[in-house]
Every structure is written in structure tokens, then in C-alpha cells.
Symmetry: C2
Subunit: 437 residues, 2 copies
């Protein structure tokens, strides 16, 4: 008998490993935050003596979901300006609101709201891009969530920094502060090709290569962006990034609704990653990311919600649902983007894109125990023929009952253990009143 911290018994364990197995009546043994073993429940009691046992008798245990692109604090702008085209939405609503309201306190309260929502819907790791990444990092670590906190870079001054050099200086400080943190990573996050010029991008490319840091960037979000770039420079933005040496396994290119065959070949050849944000792309009428074509070409595609201002939630189960539905119609093939592929996009592919796949993204021995329990007992989930189908096509965020990050039980029967829900709601109400005025 081996003494361990925790045993979680699941009706199903869906580890997201080779061959997409669905393990019936299996248990996960956890010690020191890591997975020690996944084995039949019938054997678990003979092998392990656990301090805590969790019986998830009607649940599927899946890897924690990885939200590969979001702006967490923007949750305070949820539903503020809907049904508007991207540039109108940005120029006349979001940017003025950010100018008016942005502060460390805003990021603090918005990020707490976002983390609470993400945990309650099964997300254990988020890749963020926003002001005050130091605050986001601190809050995520405190809450016990895994976070990739984007070191933002822009050409123009904001509340965070005055110019590209200052953004990069602050980035390096933050990267240094968290360089050996177990939960926090610090990718570079230059906003977009149209807001960051060549010089800082070249610098980031050099730093990214040196430090092996991912580069998280909006690319080809709209046709307008691509058209303008071609008009000005004769180059598509992705090609410009490639010329700067940025299209590499370190790049997370977010959105990518405008892709021709050359773009796809370039991504495949270089090993760059795409982060698909279907709900945001649809809501802003930006276009369709050709996910099946990317997968066919061998490109790694992860999944993200984008911020709550353009979604309007941070629910990765909903995003998986939308990705599966729209992916089929875009491919013209109902067999495209099947449920297992979507689950992989929302877990292991996200981990790969963020260079975290030795740490999380699947349920495997020695990886951290980032685990979500999804309850199948509600009548909306019945009957059950194929559990993975239900995760994608039938489950709602309310089916998420428990969440562990690095073995720590952060959501316990739908109650948050490290975040104070009532306090968060109270603060959000104050912001709501101020901003609505």
C-alpha cells in the first residue's frame, strides 16, 4: 500500500491521450500535486492509501480545460456593447471605456470575477493578455490557478507603459519575478501586427528565442486587418511576422480567420500554433477559421474564449460546442472537428501551444493533477452512449462540479475554495453601477 494525498474515483476517466480512450470506472491517484497513477477503481483501494478520497460516481474526469486566449479583466465589460462591428465596438466603446476606467483595481476585480467564472466552468489554466499582468499573476497564484500572463507590448502609451521600450522592460522584470513559479508563466504578448512595429517585434523575437518564451498575438482577426496591411506594405501580416522570424513553434497566432493556402503551409512548415476563438469571431462577424484545413496540414490548434466583452462568457465547454458545430459547416463535412478533436483542442493542444504539455493538458502519470469532474447525472445529460460526445454537445458549465489544479481542490461541489464569491459579486456590483452611469 502506497500512502498518497488524494484518490479521485470517476465513472469515466477521459485522459486525452493516444487513441482517445474512455476508461470506465477508473481512479486517479495524486501525490504532491502530481498524478501518480490512473487505474481501475477496483484496484485503487488495494494499491493506495489516500488521505482524501473523492467519489465522482456519475462523473467524467477530464484534463483541466485550457483557455488559450482571453482578456480576463474585461469581464467587467461583459455585455456592455453588443451587436456592433469590430472597429465600431473597439473604437467607440471598448477603448473609450478602457481609457475611462482602467486601473490596477479594475484589473484586480475583473480578473477575480473571470477566474471564478473560469473555475466554475472547468478551466484550470488561462492565457491572458491585458494591462497590469503583475496583478493577474499575483491573483492567479493566490487562487491556485495556472496562468500564462501575457507581457503586453504596444507601440503607443497606455496606463501600463509609455513606449515599446518601457513595455519590454516591465515585461522582463515580470518574467524574472516568475521565472521559477510552478503555476505562472509569462509569454510575450505583443497586441497585433497593426499595433506593434518592426523594431519591438524584432527585439521580442530575439528575447523569445533566448528565453524560449511563447509569443501570444492577435493575427489575421479580420479581412480589414489583412487588406490594410497589404495596401500599406504589400505583405500579409503573417508574412511580415515570418520575415521578422516570429512565425515559429513559439508563436500563438490568435483568431486567424483569414487564411489562404500559403498562410496554412507557412504555419505548418514552421510549427506555429493557432488559437481558435470561434464565438468571438462569429459575434464580431470577423470570419471563420478553417480549423479542419489547419488540422489536416498538421497545425496545432488550441481553443480560447477571448474576453467576456466579445463572447460574452469564459465558458470553454460552450466554446468547444461552438467549435465543433461551426467547424463542420466551414469544412462542409459533418464528420469534421469531431468531439475528441475538440476536447483535445481545449486541453492538450492548448498545453502544447503554451509549451506546457509536459506539465498539464492530459491526465498522465507525472503531469500535474489539473482535473475537472463533469457530472452526467442531470437529465440534460441522459442517456449516455458516448461520454466524449456529451462533453461537447450536451454538457453545460453547470455540470462542472469539482476542479483540481496541481492536486489542490479549487472547486468543491461547485463552491470555490480559494476565491470569495460574495466578495467578488459585491465588488462587481460597484463597478457595474459606476460604469453603467
Amino acid at each position: 500500500m502506497q500512502n498518497i494525498d488524494t484518490l479521485i474515483h470517476g465513472r469515466w476517466v477521459i485522459p486525452v491521450t493516444q487513441g482517445d480512450p474512455v476508461l470506465n470506472h477508473h481512479s486517479i491517484a495524486i501525490h504532491d500535486g502530481r498524478i501518480v497513477e490512473i487505474l481501475p477503481t477496483a484496484e485503487a483501494g488495494f494499491r493506495f492509501n489516500a488521505q482524501i478520497e473523492n467519489h465522482c460516481i456519475s462523473h467524467a474526469l477530464i484534463p483541466g480545460l485550457i483557455n488559450a486566449h482571453t482578456h480576463a479583466a474585461m469581464s467587467l465589460f461583459r455585455g456592455m456593447a453588443d451587436d456592433l462591428p469590430l472597429m465600431d465596438w473597439l473604437s467607440n466603446h471598448i477603448w473609450p471605456a478602457e481609457t475611462r476606467w482602467m486601473s490596477e483595481e479594475f484589473v484586480h476585480d475583473g480578473t477575480e470575477l473571470a477566474m471564478a467564472e473560469m473555475l466554475r466552468s472547468g478551466t484550470t489554466c488561462f492565457n491572458d493578455m491585458y494591462f497590469f499582468p503583475d496583478t493577474t499573476a499575483r491573483l492567479a497564484r493566490k487562487a491556485g490557478m495556472r496562468a500564462c500572463v501575457g507581457l503586453i507590448v504596444l507601440d503607443f502609451p497606455t496606463i501600463w507603459a509609455g513606449n515599446a521600450d518601457e513595455y519590454i522592460e516591465k515585461a522582463l522584470q515580470l518574467r524574472d519575478q516568475y521565472r521559477s513559479d510552478a503555476l505562472i508563466r509569462t509569454p510575450f504578448a505583443p497586441h497585433a501586427p497593426y499595433t506593434v512595429s518592426d523594431a519591438p517585434l524584432e527585439k521580442l523575437r530575439m528575447l523569445s528565442d533566448e528565453m524560449d518564451l511563447p509569443v501570444h498575438m492577435h493575427v489575421h482577426e479580420t479581412a480589414h486587418e489583412v487588406d490594410e496591411a497589404v495596401k500599406k506594405s504589400g505583405l500579409r501580416p503573417l508574412q511580415r511576422l515570418a520575415n521578422l522570424g516570429l512565425v515559429s513553434p513559439n508563436l500563438l497566432a490568435v483568431h486567424m480567420t483569414q487564411l489562404n493556402d500559403d498562410d496554412i503551409a507557412l504555419l505548418a512548415r514552421t510549427g506555429a500554433h493557432v488559437v481558435h476563438c470561434p464565438e468571438s469571431n462569429l459575434k464580431l462577424a470577423s470570419g471563420y477559421c478553417p480549423v479542419q484545413k489547419l488540422l489536416d496540414a498538421g497545425v496545432n490548434v488550441a481553443l480560447g474564449t477571448d474576453g467576456s466583452a466579445s463572447n460574452n462568457d469564459l465558458n470553454m465547454l460552450g466554446e468547444m460546442h461552438t467549435a465543433a458545430l461551426i467547424g463542420k459547416c466551414v469544412a462542409g463535412n459533418a464528420a469534421a472537428i469531431n468531439a475528441s478533436q475538440v476536447l483535445r483542442m481545449a486541453t492538450l493542444n492548448g498545453a502544447r501551444a503554451l509549451n506546457l504539455d509536459t506539465v498539464t493538458g492530459s491526465l498522465e502519470k507525472n503531469k500535474f493533477a489539473d482535473i475537472v469532474a463533469i457530472d452526467f447525472s442531470a437529465l440534460e445529460m441522459q442517456p449516455v452512449y458516448h461520454p466524449v460526445s456529451h462533453l461537447v454537445y450536451s454538457a453545460g458549465r453547470e455540470q462542472v462540479t469539482d476542479v483540481w489544479v496541481a492536486g489542490k481542490h479549487l472547486l468543491k461541489d461547485r463552491a470555490l475554495t480559494t476565491l470569495d464569491e460574495q466578495k467578488i459579486l459585491q465588488k462587481v456590483r460597484t463597478w457595474n453601477e459606476k460604469i453603467a452611469e
Copy 2:
């Protein structure tokens, strides 16, 4: 003081009437199943003396959602065969399963599961098309739900009838049985142009005109359907139906993913209704219904989930979300298919299509009290700037707390009052085991 049955106090009342008002702190007064008055909560206590008062202090009260196209009993096939093209799905999975399992008991148990799910997600009225409509009608009446029970017609024999004449005979019997029922309506439901020939369609047209009964039919679901028809007859299916006199205000044409400008003009000219089922159309890669074009042409567009075998849920809030998102990208305009329009599609437009708009579909004096309370207190719904946006872009089915149909409280703080959830689950488990074998 007027004595009445019920007062419901809402944080917001969203009646879906002219100008799309959102009424702050309003109450709905109900007597004998109908809405007596909608008035500020501050006045309600002075005007009405209610036997029951419901305080929905953090809720929006909206008209009951109308699922304008479903196959309720197919919930027993939920998730049985996913990620397959339509004809493979139908021919190799759904039709064989129906042949193997169809019985009155199947329809009974499947419909109860479906009704429970629909009530729990805010649907008060469903337009069904399936075998044993007599059973569906009986169950809906017993549960207190509003239902339009499709009088199915096919050319070929099934468990329900041997030939078109027998289908029509059984249809007329059922229509006679329910002709003055307060909750049950009986539209004709010829399956599709490719499964019903001219002679029975002509008969239905005549009967539909005589009795002013809607005709509920799958039309232009796939390009294949249209191509095959054109190859065989030279006519697009919608044109053939028009030649038979069926394209009229009585027609509910479901799916309509393949529409050219002539089709749209024909629908607009004749006053026929379209039932949009975006999730099913996406999941089966059938194509995109051009909803904004239809609305621009003045066509009434309602919303349906289709059956759970191709969705895989009966959640109209989810369908609203998908309709809004995909509608924008199809129109190439983020301002298209806005939240108010989607809410209207899911309520009043459905009532209009089913010839029920004097009875339900909006919250207005003298209409039946078909009402849904959506709780905005969860952090996934915070902050709140525009309640209608949240209904479409942020609410999940779990936000539905209470449902009334004709004033009867069918869902009470998420508990079903007329359906036995545990008994339903038990029966579903038995079916699950049998079918999975």
C-alpha cells in the same frame, strides 16, 4: 383592490412587444391563467390582492420560449451517433434505431424526458413532429405544457400508419379529439418534399385551408435534397410546394439552408414562415440559413432546436446564442441578428408561425401567462448593462428558475411540479442499457 390568482414580481420584465422595452421593477398580475396587467411593482400591491406572490428579485421575466421544431422523443437517442453526415446519420444510425426501438412506450418515455428538459430550460411550447402524436398530446396536456403535435404524413409505411391515406385519417381523428383543447394544437406535419408525394400534399393543402391548420415540414435542409429534386423534376422543392398551393401563411418551412433570391421572394410574397434550426444545421453540416436576408425581406423567422439526436439538447437559450452568433457571420455584419431579434425569434415569431400569437409569445394583457424567470444573480451573469444581451450571450439553461404555462407553476425553483424527474431518469436508464447493447 382586485382579487387575483398570482403576482410575479420581476427585477425586469421583458415583454417582447413593440419597441422592445425592458421594464425595470415590474410585476405581472395573473388570473384564470391569463395576464391581467403588467405594472410597476411599486403599484402592484395597491392594485391587486393575489393568492400567491412570487418574488423574482434578481430575475428577468420573459415570455415562455417556443421551440418551433423538434422531435421530442428522440431525446432517447441523444448522442447515439455524432460527427456523421446527414444521410449516413439517417440511413445507417437513426432510421435503423427507429425501426428497432420505435413503440408507443419509446415515445412516451422519450417525450417525458424531452418535456422535462424543455421546461428546465425555459421552453413552454413545442412544435413536435414524430410517431405516436396521440401519446405526445396526452403527455403534454397532463404535464401542463403547450404543444403543437404534428400530424405526421409520409408516403411509406411506419409503425404509425401503412400509407398516406391512413396517416391522414389518423391525423383527422387526432385533430378532432383536440380541436378545442386549451394547450394542444395539431398542425399537419408532412415529413419533407422528398418523402411525401403530390397527391397527399394536395389533400393536406385542402384540409389545411379548410381547417386553418399550419403545415410543418422540413424543406431545403440540404443542398443534396434540392439538387436531387431539380435533377428529377426540374423544380426546386419550395417551388413544387408553391405549385401545390402549400406555400402560404400556413406553412412552417423548417431548416431552409438552401435559399436563393427567388426562394426568399416567394416566402416573403406568400407570408410563409421559416423555422431556423442553427445547431442542427451546423452539426450536420447542412449549411447556413440566411436569416438576416429573410428578416430584411419581411419573412417571419422562428427558432427550433430540432431533435436531441442532432443537437444534442433541447435548450432554446443555447439555440438563441448560436442563432445570434452564426447569423452575424453569415450576414457579414456584427450588427445583424441582434439580441432583441433573437429573443423575438424564440418567442413571438414562433407563436406567429404556429398561429398562436393571440394566445402566447409575448407578455401582454389577455394573453396566457406563459412566463419564464431567468436569474441574473450568478457571477456568470454579472455585471448587467443590457438584460436582453445577457439572455442571448451569457445566460445558460441553469439560470432558468421558474416556468409558468397558462399561469400554472410548472417549474418552481428548478423543481418540476407536474413531471416526476426521478421516475423519468429511471426509465431513461433502462432505455439507455437496451439501446447501447
